[in-house]
């Protein structure tokens, strides 16, 4: 049985806004029948204020698809459509107190239904090239298509590189065989063989070009983006020192001493590296003390 939160169960057993809205002027149909999840979102938008007066859903899908649809309609009712468009799939998942990694696509479907409905309201055509593959990394919910595309685009050749670029394989490591298979397949297309002993290359990204102060502020900003995730698990993170490419942080609350601390640091590192556009290393604050002692 899935590990559904109370909130997911509650929205599944007693869905809000089920059924089509009468006189809807925005309709979004998204989903995939082969995957077994599809959703029609109907909205009644006030043409003058562009406020969503009413929202209704019809869903063919599993428990979390129905709950995500219900949550979406609750979130967006009363919003202006421009504000509603900024609702992310993570917002939907957060509203439901989280979804299992295999079920995150249900929240993605909700967001896309909204985009499709707004496009329909504005007389535009909504297109989505989003494709989903089999789930490879269950720790970070990374699918096959995402890994394949990243491997191709960046010419990756090791599991470590795949982890650096996509997070896949950075948790329990059970999916490393699957990642190796993808690498083997894609390298074979180029007539190359997968070498398990190859050393990962550095991520080649331009330096950020920020002043020290700007860079420091940006790091704080990026940490702020991650913070809600940590706080949800009753933990937190604090910036201690920035020394070139080394960024020292202190894990606090439930994150301190957590078995997944290394994974969490990896996730923070990934987020900072992407946000700064440079190769950095996030280290625990204890490491700073250790290095200082060594230099003394």
């Amino acid at each position: 049985m899935w590990d559904y939160s109370e909130k997911v169960q509650e929205h599944f057993f007693s869905p809000r806004n089920a059924g089509a809205v009468d006189n809807a002027n925005a309709i979004g149909d998204v989903g995939s029948l082969s995957c077994g999840d599809a959703l029609r979102l109907t909205l009644k938008v006030d043409p003058d204020s562009e406020v969503i007066l009413d929202a209704g859903f019809q869903t063919f899908g599993c428990g979390s698809a129905i709950a995500s649809s219900s949550a979406l309609t609750e979130i967006i009712k009363g919003m202006k459509i421009d504000d509603a468009l900024s609702v992310s799939n993570q917002d939907i998942a957060d509203y439901l107190d989280g979804l299992p990694p295999e079920k995150m696509h249900c929240s993605v479907m909700g967001r896309e239904a909204l985009q499709a409905a707004v496009a329909n309201y504005r007389g535009e055509e909504w297109k989505d090239d989003h494709e989903e593959g089999a789930l490879i990394c269950k720790c970070f919910a990374i699918d096959e298509v995402m890994i394949e595309e990243t491997v191709r685009a960046n010419g990756l050749r090791t599991v470590e590189e795949v982890t650096n670029y996509t997070k896949a394989g950075g948790g329990c490591s059970a999916c490393h065989e699957g990642i190796e298979e993808i690498l083997t397949r894609i390298l074979a297309e180029k007539g190359e063989a997968f070498d398990p002993n190859a050393v990962a290359g550095e991520i080649k990204k331009p330096k950020s070009g920020l002043t020290n102060l700007q860079r420091m502020k940006r790091i704080e900003e990026l940490l702020g983006e991650i913070r809600p995730n940590l706080q949800r698990d009753h933990g937190d993170v604090e910036l201690v020192e920035v020394d070139g490419k080394y960024i020292y942080v202190k894990m606090i609350g439930a994150c301190a001493g957590c078995q997944m601390a290394a994974t969490t640091l990896g996730g923070i590192q990934q987020h900072l590296a992407e946000g700064l556009g440079e190769f950095i290393q996030v280290l625990p604050a204890e490491e700073l003390a250790r290095r200082a002692a060594m230099e003394a």
Partner: protein, 408 residues
Amino acid sequence: MSGKEISEGIYLDNNATTMVAPEVVSEMLPYFTEQFGNPSSLHQFGDKVGRALKKARKQAQTLLGAQYDSEIIFTSCGTESDSTAILSALKAQPDRKEIITTVVEHPAVLTLCEHLEKEGYKVHYLKVDSRGRLDIQEYYKLLSDNVAIVSIMWANNESGTLFPVEEMAELARQAGVLFHTDAVQAVGKLPINLKETCIDMLSLSGHKLHAPKGIGVLYLRRGVRFRPLLRGGHQERGRRAGTENAASIVALGKACEMAMEAMEYEKSSVKAMRDRLEQGILEKVSHCFVTGDPNNRLPNTCNIAFEYIEGEAILLLLNKMGIAASSGSACTSGSLEPSHVMRAMDIPFTAAHGSVRLSLSRYNTMKEIERVIDAMPPIVAQLRQLSPYWSGDGPVEEPEKAFAPSYA
């Protein structure tokens, strides 16, 4: 049969696993405490356990109708038995690089075969028709000196459809090809008499017939060339090394004996309950149909596809009513596609995702069945009210056209 209620709730998921029979539990318990010896030991502690294993082996032999008790190899589960059988055939016949199986096998066989393909083996997957039946002509043509082993399930775990494995084993024998059957769903529900067949190897799983999880059998016909999966000890005559799971082997023996006694009941009373359940649901719920081959299937299994709704949602609502079943929808397995068995039978997506398997055991009662028949219609109706394919009392006109979402 004792109408023992299983804790609370109605358990109709016996193809997934079964309750351990109380008699089986009491039979195995002493082997955790006073009878803790290693059956290989010479002293009295080991000797008694050794005798108990011998008895269990006889009981398993009787249920399978094997000619010799030494044809019974105890393993840890059905999956181990399947892997042992297939890998043994490949190892013992290194010149034969082909395998014949079906598209609807259990992952225990399918995943292994897909892996073997990567290692260079050629695997032929026999297709099934809309009723889940094989084309024997297609099979016959594939048999050749290149085939190391044929592995065909006796009964399908999802639809309950039976394959003619005895006939297929005979054809394999004539062609000089080894034949294995994954019979984990069939053993205990159908009379089996292996000595009268050409089946060379058969997999059995304890927890499908009221024994505990973690115990299985590989039947290996005397004289069939064999290479063990696990080496390292003389246990099971060197064919499966590792200290015997004595308590579970004793339990499986008892479960086999009880299954033998209950065979008639399975064929008559369990089947009657299944038939009543199926007919009751089909009468009360529109737009649903039985999948598989209703005229040739396990007596305990019924698989109904409910159109325009999704299986996991059905299961969650059933679960709320205390009813346990399973589904072939993508979501229940965490995969992206509905059950490979439903797809192989070409069941449309709108129905395949709504397929629900109800599998009974001799511990179910007619009273429970009536409660399930009453519970199902409002659950289906509730979900159809949410479905974009449904409007009022029936599907919308031309459902597939009326709602054709873009891929998200």
